[in-house]
């Protein structure tokens, strides 16, 4: 991990300091990719500021489960600016006791399905999402399949004896 100064000198972080002071907790520049760590309560403001800063595209929202570490869930946003040909990754950590974060649907409508997928697969709730329902799994499914404590193999029901 590079020293903190390197991140602070990047253009996007300096622009963010102007509009959203103190929202960047840290981050790193590795393999040519810039990652910024943002506190969960600031995500909506940061995304608004970044969209105004030409990040017109939300490429994806996903989650990494760092079980049994806490805060357990790392929500990852991939942003892209076509005009500047730049990519940016936002990383937000939420704990397993309150896996909840503001939806960025008001900023990009593209967040709709991505956030539903994270809700479906990891059980992270998005506040103010217009339709937070399961998207890939059946609606009566129990559990969140991509959590690390969810088994890969095994069946809840045995079909062999039926």
């Amino acid at each position: 991990m590079l020293p903190e100064q390197d991140i602070k000198e990047t253009r996007v972080v300096q622009a963010l300091e102007q509009t959203e002071p103190g929202a960047v907790l840290g981050g790193k520049l590795a393999l040519g990719e810039l990652t910024l760590e943002v506190p969960p309560d600031r995500i909506l403001g940061v995304c608004r500021a970044l969209k105004a800063d030409q990040y017109v595209r939300l490429a994806s929202v996903t989650c990494v489960d760092w079980y049994p570490m806490e805060p357990r869930f790392e929500i990852v946003y991939h942003l892209h600016s076509i005009a500047r040909n730049e990519r940016l990754r936002l990383s937000v950590r939420v704990d397993s006791a309150h896996p909840e974060i503001d939806s960025v649907h008001p900023v990009w409508r593209a967040a709709d399905w991505y956030e539903r997928e994270v809700f479906d697969m990891f059980g992270v709730r998005f506040r103010n999402h217009p339709n937070l329902t399961r998207i890939l799994m059946p609606e009566d499914w129990e559990g969140n399949p991509l959590r690390k404590d969810y088994p890969v193999h095994g069946h809840k029901y045995s079909y062999q004896n039926e």
Binding site: T35, R57, L58, H78, I82, R87, M137, E139
Partner: protein, 404 residues
């Protein structure tokens, strides 16, 4: 899958006295190209509300990636977008190679470019054939699948498989190119531009085709960007954004090609963009054939790439590496990488997280179909139900790609 009533039934008259009908399109509708269910709220012939219901092809590929070694994930990526297998192979391999900071030999890079362009033509041919079939041009399907058969034979020649190729591996290619590959590719690269002329003769100025597609499925560029659409649909709305040009990977910067764009942003413009893309792909294949470098097709990384058979019989180290790679795989340095490529459908991105072990900690596939399919509601709503088939076809989604 959402909680919408499963039976098609008339909703009770609302307080306003307005009556709408709920119609299920799919999941077994032939024009949805897979198992997509769209729930349409109809007011006469106008679609008031369109809700896409996906997940019927969800196979848990991302979860399965977490229990396989890095190299064993490659065959899984074939099954994500089953019409653009090699694009998925490439994207995953590039992401892992980024984490490994591995240098790939020039010949392997050029081979990858050439074969992903063949994949692009393959995918566009299936799109063109089925899209035209939906609209009623039935013979197009036969012509497109005639050329697709040639492409599948090429894939079989290279990898031994017609569809699930797994030909790109972490560190290069699975095998060196087979005997006779150059003649086969030469034949294909000569044949394809003429065949594209044939398709254009059939469709481009065809009055029925133009009436069914011009001005249909229009979406403003801002809407497209906002809902996360990528690829030919964005280029048909006037943005010359192509990841091959803007963030070149696998030595695309060495190739000379155009990024076709249109400004109308309707079904016809998307058709024109994809036809032009096929022509540009032919040009790239031609350049790759003319300038194909010599040399190895696998990186010089003995802990990742399987040793040659001959070396295993004569060298102790090669035998040890072979045993280690086959039994436990190889470790990838801890970190995260996002690699985006221009797949036939748009931005394909693999987000790969490693915790330093021999298995991926997390693989997320940012698939183009998932992003493009989100435009279903703005594209269908307040428009005629008869145009919905053409609009859906112009998105060119693959449900395996959407649901993973």
């Amino acid at each position: 899958m959402s909680d919408i009533a499963t039976t098609a039934a008339e909703t009770p008259a609302a307080a306003t006295g307005k009556r709408t009908m709920t119609l299920n399109m799919g999941p077994q509708h032939p024009s949805t190209h897979g198992v997509l269910r769209v729930v349409l709220e109809l007011d006469g012939e106008i679609i008031e509300k369109a809700t896409a219901d996906i997940g019927y092809l969800h196979t848990g590929i991302e979860k399965q990636c977490e229990v396989r070694t890095w190299q064993q994930v490659v065959p899984l990526t074939d099954r994500v977008d089953y019409l653009a297998n090699l694009s998925n192979n490439l994207c995953y391999c590039l992401a892992v190679e980024k984490l490994l900071q591995m240098e790939i030999p020039a010949k392997a890079q050029w081979m990858r470019v050439m074969l992903t362009e063949v994949t692009r033509i393959n995918s566009h041919l299936v799109w063109l054939g089925t899209h035209a079939l939906d609209i009623g041009a039935m013979s197009m399907f036969m012509y497109c699948f005639r050329e697709r058969e040639e492409i599948l034979r090429l894939f079989e020649l290279f990898s031994g498989q017609r569809m699930m190729t797994s030909y790109f591996r972490i560190g290069g290619l699975a095998l060196d190119a087979p005997r006779g590959w150059r003649q086969a590719m030469e034949r294909f690269s000569k044949l394809m531009p003429e065949r594209i002329d044939e398709y254009e003769n059939l469709l481009t100025n065809n009055p029925i085709w133009t009436i069914r597609t011009k001005g249909v499925g229009y979406l403003h560029l801002d809407d497209l960007l906002d809902v996360g659409v990528t690829g030919p649909m964005i280029r048909a709305a006037g943005v010359a954004w192509d990841i091959r040009k803007d963030e070149p990977y696998s030595s695309y910067e060495k190739f000379d090609f155009q990024v076709p764009t249109r400004t109308e942003s309707d079904v016809y413009a998307r058709y024109q963009v994809r036809i032009q893309e096929m022509r540009e792909s032919c040009k790239i294949i031609r350049q790759a054939l003319d300038g194909m470098p010599e040399g190895p097709v696998q990186a010089d990384a003995p802990h990742v790439v399987l040793p040659e058979r001959e070396k295993m019989k004569t060298q102790m180290e090669a035998l040890i590496y072979h045993f280690k790679i086959v039994t436990e795989g190889f470790a990838v340095p801890a970190g995260q990488a996002y690699q985006a490529i221009e797949s036939p459908r748009g931005e394909l991105g693999y987000y790969v997280v490693s915790d330093g072990t021999n298995k991926p900690y997390r693989v997320h596939m940012r698939t183009p179909s998932f992003g493009n399919l989100m435009s279903i509601a703005p594209m269908l709503e307040n428009r005629l139900i008869a145009d919905s088939i053409a609009s859906l076809g112009s998105m060119d989604f693959v449900l395996g790609d959407t649901d993973r």
